[in-house]
Subunit: 323 residues, 2 copies
């Protein structure tokens, strides 16, 4: 699946992905009021509003981008009707030829991870009928439980031609609290004659250990030059992005944190390999909520979808300017 993503990135000349993360505060009043006129003040109204909001934006931008990344939290907050809107959004984007990266950050112990993997990327058997639960092509996963929480996802990627992105270094301010902590090298610590200097020099941050595991997990599911096991590395930590790029030469890097979270195009060059591949940059608010920003105010709330299209064009040019 990662080779298909690369193909679409090259066709569209756009190493970017649009985060479909609809908050109610992003939805234009007319869209929300229309939904409430039909469903009153219910979860169904919220589900309908975010679906209509997504659909309008996707219709205006699908030709420009290779992929979308719906953040499932923004749908799950509305309960079952929110999940219905998520499911509709995923299927609609696939109909429009987009690759769908479900930003679900799922993980659990083995049997439960297998259920998540089957539900989002694989299939399940009901009687003699093979069915999909959800329809994403790729999803994000959390590594805290180690290999046996990740393995079921990797198995499904291999069997069904899908991809995952493992959280390595996240874009949020407190990501360093655990992820940046330096780990003692176990072999060095076991040596009787080890010095303090050697211990400090041989230590590495947790995110590097996770990155090494990403390589290990991805080693036997290559799809061309890249592996089906990619990594999430936030745009907000470019020095770490550069180090992680070198450490994981075959992992595609999904880069959140551009735009609204503060990452700039210039700082993103190190996330890419020399061939201009190896990374895909996400923007969510910056695109779907463009009409609320000064730069795109001229479009007006009723043309929110046109504002999003212009924001995609601008982001594409901005990212491409670094090559």
């Amino acid at each position: 699946m990662i080779s298909q993503l690369i193909k679409k990135i090259q066709e569209k000349k756009a190493p970017i992905v649009v985060g479909l993360d609809p908050m109610i505060s992003y939805v234009p009043k007319a869209v929300m009021e229309d939904a409430m006129a039909r469903y009153e003040e219910t979860l169904d109204a919220a589900g309908e509003a975010i679906w209509q909001f997504n659909k309008a934006i996707v219709d205006k931008i699908f030709d420009l981008i290779p992929a979308v990344k719906p953040q499932i939290a923004m749908y799950e907050q509305f309960g079952v009707p929110g999940i219905i809107a998520y499911d509709k959004t995923v299927r609609y984007c696939k109909q429009k030829g987009l690759i769908v990266i479900g930003d679900v950050k799922r993980n659990d112990i083995g049997t439960s991870s297998a259920a998540y993997a089957n539900g989002h990327l694989g299939s399940i058997m009901i009687g003699r009928t093979e069915l999909r639960g959800f329809h994403e092509d790729m999803i994000t996963v959390n590594p805290y439980l180690g290999t046996d929480g990740i393995k079921p996802f990797v198995d499904v990627c291999k069997e069904k031609d899908r991809s995952i992105f493992v959280l390595v270094k996240t874009s949020n301010p407190s990501s360093g609290e655990f992820q940046d902590r330096v780990l003692l090298d176990e072999e060095q610590a076991d040596r009787e004659d080890v010095s303090a200097e050697e211990l400090i020099r041989s230590g590495k941050p947790l995110y590097e250990l996770v990155a090494e595991k990403v390589n290990e997990w991805g080693a036997d599911c290559m799809d061309g030059d890249y592996s089906e096991v990619g990594a999430v590395v936030g745009a907000t930590y470019p020095a770490m992005g550069a180090a992680l790029r070198k450490l994981m030469p075959h992992a595609y890097i999904l880069v959140p944190g551009y735009g609204a979270q503060g990452g700039t195009a210039a700082s993103l060059r190190p996330y890419f390999n020399k061939d201009g591949l190896g990374a895909i940059v996400n923007s969510s608010r910056g695109i779907i909520c463009a009409y609320q920003q000064n730069a795109y105010k001229e479009f007006g709330e009723e043309h929110f979808d046109e504002a999003s299209r212009q924001a995609v064009l601008d982001m594409r040019d901005d990212i491409n300017s670094i090559f």
Copy 2:
């Protein structure tokens, strides 16, 4: 909410929680066939089957236990109909007077964590109407993103009287891969005259640092003697359970891994405080799938719910034998 859980544990004399984690292979043939007769071989049939399976078991055990813990992965695998079954199960268990711990292991950066927190524990506004997305009382959360991924959950716990359990040391075989890794003490490493021995002695495993954060996050949302911020510590690592019990005196510990995963009652004493409180032990397969085990075969598949009741009684006695 943790004080309500304690009250129910004391009333029922049962520091146990039943994991409602329905796999299709657990569902008796008659239940599955009935669902397929009504919905054919569809996701709706799977949703209906696991809901009927859950309902039958809950009807037979609700008087014996304080709480249930549905594992959302087992529902999510069936897409929207699975999530509908999850929602029905949560609401039904609450009607029966049970506390519901959603085993969702959610986490994300701040705004998305807030959406998960509002959706599962808090509420959202649609127009002027305040609504709940899902209806759990407590959920499990993943700490990998640090404080700003956890804070939105803590805020909702304080505002709405709910609880969370943070993954500290999970029950699975590879949980040690990251969680057990020893972290360099940053202050010691900065000292010019530090010795290797001091560095090794002052290091602590990642799960201990997470435990310290659990204390920090929970400090200002106490509910009686315990905090609304609890911890998940697997039954399969009793020595660590003992250490973590002391390290987090005010955190309720949710203990998975008893029974099917290998944890025994005798090994669980250290997870409890001297007052017999402080921990609640989960069993999933061991209860809901009791009828498939040798010990309960006599009940027969058609009386799967009676087998589950007997398994709860046996588990309760087994756990209470340690006090």
